[in-house]
């Protein structure tokens, strides 16, 4: 039986704010759960995030946004990914996102948004259930 390849996940921090506590915790938790994790660091533009996702050939992209700019940044990352042929990558995210903004993000193609209080185990379980290694 072939060994199932490890999932590769990009954790990215688009936007100008420096709140990286959540992104770093999630990145470490995913690594501890056995995934391959690449972390972009802070202050990325949507184009930089999409470029990193393509270069690193990841299966999924997790975006952390706490600046209130989620309605701009999530769709912008989706567009930049699609433009580079990365539209098949699963995009999820987390941050300060009011419930009423969730439908707009889901319709932009974001697969899941974790809001404050989500446990790292929930995020790990969701990825195991929803992300498949590509090709």
């Amino acid at each position: 039986m072939a060994v199932r390849p490890r999932l590769r996940i990009l954790i990215a921090k688009p936007g100008l704010d420096g709140h990286d506590r959540g992104a770093k915790i999630v990145a470490r938790a995913l690594r501890d759960a056995g995934f391959e994790v690449i972390y972009t660091g802070l202050h990325q533009t949507p184009a930089m995030v999409a470029e990193a996702a393509i270069q690193e050939d990841v299966d999924a992209v997790g975006l952390s946004i706490l600046s209130g700019a989620h309605l701009t940044l999530f769709p912008a990352v989706m567009e930049e990914l699609a433009r580079r042929g990365g539209g098949d990558k699963v995009v999820f995210g987390g941050g300060i996102v009011p419930d009423e903004d969730l439908p707009a993000l889901i319709s932009a193609g974001v697969a899941k948004v974790f809001t404050p209080g989500a446990s790292t185990q929930e995020i790990v379980d969701w990825i195991r259930a929803n992300v498949r290694p590509r090709g």
């Binding site: 936007g15 100008l16 704010d17 420096g18 709140h19 990286d20 506590r21 770093k24 915790i25 990145a27 470490r28 938790a29 690594r31 994790v37 972390y39 972009t40 660091g41 802070l42 202050h43 533009t45 600046s67 209130g68 700019a69 309605l71 701009t72 940044l73 912008a76 300060i96 009011p98 419930d99 009423e100 809001t115 404050p116 209080g117 446990s119 790292t120 185990q121």
Partner: protein, 543 residues
């Protein structure tokens, strides 16, 4: 019976409901503290309020003389929106202003910059030029309020604007009082808003310390901040230690510039976090005062008592609040604020119950301010100076926090000081490790977060949230474009060249900055000069 006898003979036979008891920072605490936990010279080391080493408070009368300043951090949308919130808070009995700027302003981009897209007016007020700063303080005389401005890598520009507004109001700089956060070291350690690398960032901070000591004597040119270190996930001891180590670094740098310690140290102020663990927080604030007073006297030879007194603003812990059952946050904030008051702070911000969901609504801010007013006027705790002083537990924990913080400071000294430690990623890694360890404890339910991992309710109705008007970005971008179009272009270019010359030569940046903002040079343009002259710092992206 000694404590040891009591523990052996009476306590050990009793069952305990947990395997270990530790603070929110995971510092294990003993079941009981007695006089046996304190060295013989405790009374002397604790001292009296207003006396060295200021463990019991920096002033003799503390809140019997004057209550702490109630200072709610506010800012969203345009300058006019935030001016309205300021007027509301002053009308409700708030006694000082505190300004939150939006991310583009904090990071040195104008509202019309592509990187500002989606961020204008979201996390604070958008200020791109003097035109915005004037509107922000419209109708507020700058000699009648003290203002705190939370801004760091663009602090020099915003201070220049504030001084220009004062001048326009006919208020002399000597009558202008307030604080600008301007603590770049903790930016690299925790909050992570920066333009240029640590060394030139520190140089700009020292320019401001030097300039204010000479020209704006009632201003606090740097607010040495543990708040963001804690929010990034540090322990209480790390918050204390890294903050004091940052203070040492600023003092060293100002001395190297040629200033005398007592010329600037009285205007250094602090900003600490108030987290959930009540006893730990009270002890932290008391240890901070004793540590700073001792370091200023013994390490820096300060003589002026004002140099020895650690005066601090404090804010309840944003990261401790929960999106689940948000009304519970009022209770958390009350406990945290009480720790601040019993810890002897000079100024206080209480967080709003809806902050994990959005910027606070007017109603939520009102409850937060009323929390302080209830504590001040109804609880009675402000009637006695340092009422917890002499508690065996509080004094033992104060001793321990001071001791553990000293050990960290020695490690940082051994690394060659805080700048070298930052370059090596030392404080950043310590904090990330502590943050991860805490999250694991919460996920394993070893630490209880009410409403999140215990006592959950299935369905909740979200509170009314503040929404920033969607057209703010367009209006603000139009405004800064108009400013750039309509100003005297030649004068603005000349003023920017003067800023560049000062940046390159090492001459104090503040006088050319004041001239540049008056010529309507923008935050983005001046930050571009910094980027070009000093280079841009990039996140090392350590995990």
């Amino acid at each position: 019976m000694t404590k040891r006898d009591w523990l052996e003979r009476r306590y050990r036979t009793e069952p305990e409901r947990r395997l270990r008891f530790s603070t929110v920072s995971d510092m294990e605490v003993e079941p009981l503290y007695t006089a046996d936990d304190l060295p013989a010279d405790t009374a002397e080391r604790v001292g009296l309020p207003g006396e060295f080493p200021y463990t019991r408070g920096v002033y003799p009368s503390m809140y019997r003389g004057r209550l702490w300043t109630m200072r709610q951090f506010a800012g969203f949308g345009t300058a006019e929106d935030t001016n309205g919130r300021f007027q509301f808070l002053l009308g409700e009995g708030q006694t000082g202003l505190s300004t939150a700027f939006d991310m583009p302003t904090l990071m040195g981009y104008d509202a019309d910059h592509p990187r500002a897209l989606g961020e204008v007016g979201r996390e604070g007020v958008a200020v791109s030029s003097l035109v915005d700063m004037r509107a922000l303080f419209d109708g507020i005389r700058l000699d009648r309020v003290t203002t705190s401005m939370t801004v760091n890598c663009t602090a020099s520009v915003l201070l220049a604007m504030y001084l220009a507004v004062a001048e326009e109001q006919g208020v002399p700089w000597t009558a202008v009082g307030g604080t600008i956060q301007n603590d770049m070291l903790k930016e690299f350690i925790a909050q992570k808003e920066w333009i240029c690398p640590p060394e030139p960032s520190l140089r700009i901070v020292v320019d401001m310390i030097e300039f204010c000591a000479r020209e704006v004597p009632r201003w606090h040119p740097v607010s040495i901040s543990g708040y963001h270190i804690r929010e990034a996930g540090s322990t209480a001891v790390q918050e204390l230690a890294f903050t004091i180590a940052d203070g040492i670094t600023y003092a060293d740098a100002a001395l190297k510039r040629g200033l005398a310690i007592d010329d600037f140290a009285p205007r250094l102020s602090f900003f600490f976090n108030l987290h959930n663990d009540f006893l730990e927080e009270v002890a932290k604030l008391r240890a901070a005062r004793r540590l700073w007073a001792t370091i200023m006297r013994d390490r820096f030879g300060a003589k002026d008592p004002r140099s020895l007194r650690l005066r601090t603003h404090a804010q309840t812990a944003g990261a401790s609040l929960t999106a689940q059952q948000p009304l519970n946050n009022i209770v958390r904030v009350t406990v945290q604020a009480l720790a601040g008051i019993l810890g002897g702070v000079q100024s206080l911000h209480t967080n709003s119950l809806d902050e994990t969901l959005a910027l606070p609504s007017e109603q939520a801010v009102m409850v937060a301010l009323r929390t302080q007013q209830v504590l001040a006027d109804e609880s009675g705790v402000a009637n006695v100076v340092d009422p917890l002083g002499g508690s065996w537990t509080i004094e033992a924990l104060t001793d321990r926090m001071e001791r553990e913080a000293r050990a960290y400071i020695e490690r940082i000294d051994a690394l060659g000081g805080m700048i070298r430690a930052i370059e090596a990623g030392y404080p950043q890694r310590e904090i990330a490790d502590a943050a991860y360890a805490y999250q694991q404890q919460v996920d394993r339910k070893e630490k209880v977060v009410v409403g999140v991992n215990r006592y959950q309710v299935p369905e909740e109705r979200p509170p009314e949230l503040l929404r920033v008007a969607p057209d703010v970005e367009v209006r603000q971008a139009d405004r800064v474009r108009r400013v750039k179009r309509e100003r005297d272009g030649a004068a603005a270019r000349a003023a920017l060249r003067r800023v560049r010359a000062a940046a390159e030569s090492g001459e104090n940046l503040m006088p050319p900055l004041v001239a540049a903002v008056k010529a309507l040079c923008t935050v983005g343009e001046i930050s571009d000069v910094y980027r070009e002259v000093f280079g841009q710092y990039r996140d090392p992206a350590w995990l």
